[in-house]
């Protein structure tokens, strides 16, 4: 069953069978490997993408059921948050970082000056097993540089 997918402004045809996850299609069909798969069951947030600007978990989203435009970390490469994460050294192993930036980009789009409490509430679905949370919070607080 053919299905169209709009990712970072480009339109693609999904070839995978119904049941394939959006994360799988992004990585294996479209070569957009910035989106990470870790738990693959909707817990950890590593696979976060935006669908029409809203953070969603691509590992438990069926590719054929996507209605809306997908933005992955590749579509955010020029976002000031990327530099902010580097500047705050908000990375250790870096595996969760794409998902962190995708979630944070949605937050600052809706709320350009979030408080620490708002950041903690909004970012609660992105787990960092290295524990860089204070630096992630710092990066988002100072995302404009």
């Amino acid at each position: 069953m053919a299905s169209e997918l709009i990712v970072n402004g480009h339109t693609y045809e999904v070839r995978a069978p119904v049941g394939a996850s959006l994360a799988h299609v992004l990585r294996e069909e479209l070569g957009l490997t910035g989106t990470k798969i870790a738990c693959n069951e909707g817990h950890c947030g590593a696979c976060t993408v935006q669908i029409d600007g809203v953070p969603a978990l691509s590992c438990i989203t069926l590719a054929h059921a996507v209605r809306g435009e997908v933005t992955t970390i590749e579509g955010l490469r020029d976002h000031p948050l990327v530099d902010a994460f580097v500047k705050a050294d908000a990375v250790q192993c870096g595996f969760c970082t794409p998902g962190q930036v995708v979630s944070a980009a949605a937050l600052v789009a809706a709320n350009p000056e979030p408080t620490s409490e708002e950041i903690r509430h909004h970012m609660a679905g992105n787990i960092c097993r290295c524990g860089t949370y204070p630096r992630i919070e710092e990066a988002i607080l100072h995302w404009r540089g």
Partner: protein, 277 residues
């Protein structure tokens, strides 16, 4: 596998119904749900809030910030799951989510799966039920269901209208189902009667992104207080009265390692009633 997208109830075919997918996709992947036909019901389930009516397709994230929504439900949404899951998950789907019982999730042949043993009763059950747990000790994980039960919500499905309490069924030998939804029946809307005050309090293992160990919703309307609990029974649990827990602990039948939930429930009920003012 095929995916259908009906746009009204008359076009509904049988299959595995999917809305936000946060529960259905992992259950399909684990083989607990199966079928060759997925039915995306987003085209026919109303979304959004109109007066006291909530479309069952409204996401938890949308309800969390809606000032028309009573405090207990807003807070239950805010404290549920993670931001991404609240963005994806609908309130109708949340009411139908399955237990987090690890034996059930790991497909042990337990009573909910049609077997003759509740493995949790003899095994690991720290997070399990403390009432109505004789046949099956699973705990219902929906914060939202407890809030809606305290708020005395009514449910409109594709086939009928019913009080939320009647949607649920404590599983027993004759009927292992946790809900009374018929095959092909879809939750469309929820109706909330007016309340004067409401609150939701939740004990969890972490401060964020955790299922309720005990959740307590309380609502006051017309001089009466309704209290409902999440995480304590195989279904969302309505207390008979606000004083039901005051006279002792006979109301609960905890397992050896769920005894800790009993004083937690009592304390949260006391705080919730106090918070109603």
């Amino acid at each position: 596998m095929e995916l259908l997208r009906p746009s009204n109830v008359d076009q509904l075919d049988e299959g595995v119904y999917i809305h936000g997918g946060t529960e259905v996709v992992p259950l399909l992947r684990d083989g607990i749900l199966s079928g060759e036909r997925l039915v995306d019901i987003r085209g026919l389930v109303p979304r959004g809030v109109r007066d006291a009516t909530i479309g069952a397709g409204t996401t938890l994230a949308e309800l969390e910030v809606d000032p028309q929504i009573p405090a207990a439900l807003r807070e239950a949404c805010r404290l549920a799951a993670s931001p991404q899951l609240r963005n994806m998950g609908s309130i109708g789907g949340n009411l139908l989510q399955a237990t987090r019982c690890w034996y059930w999730r790991l497909k042990y042949p337990c009573r909910l799966h049609g077997g003759d043993t509740c493995f949790a009763r003899e095994g690991e059950h720290r997070e399990h039920a403390i009432v109505a747990n004789d046949f099956c000790a699973s705990a219902h994980p929906s914060d939202v269901a407890a809030a809606l039960l305290a708020l005395d919500a009514r449910v409109r499905t594709s086939q009928r209208e019913l009080p939320l309490a009647e949607l649920y069924h404590v599983p027993d030998e004759a009927d292992r189902n946790v809900t009374r939804l018929a095959a092909g029946e879809v939750i469309l809307e929820l109706e909330l009667p007016p309340v004067e005050a409401s609150v939701y309090l939740k004990a969890m293992d972490r401060k964020k992104w955790s299922f309720p160990q005990v959740g307590v919703a309380a609502a006051r309307a017309g001089g009466e207080t309704r209290i409902a609990l999440a995480g304590v029974a195989p279904v969302p649990w309505l207390l008979e009265s606000a004083d039901a827990l005051a006279s002792g602990d006979e109301w609960a039948t905890p397992l050896p390692r769920t005894e800790w939930k009993v004083p937690v429930a009592r304390a949260l009920v006391r705080r919730a009633v106090a918070a109603l003012g």
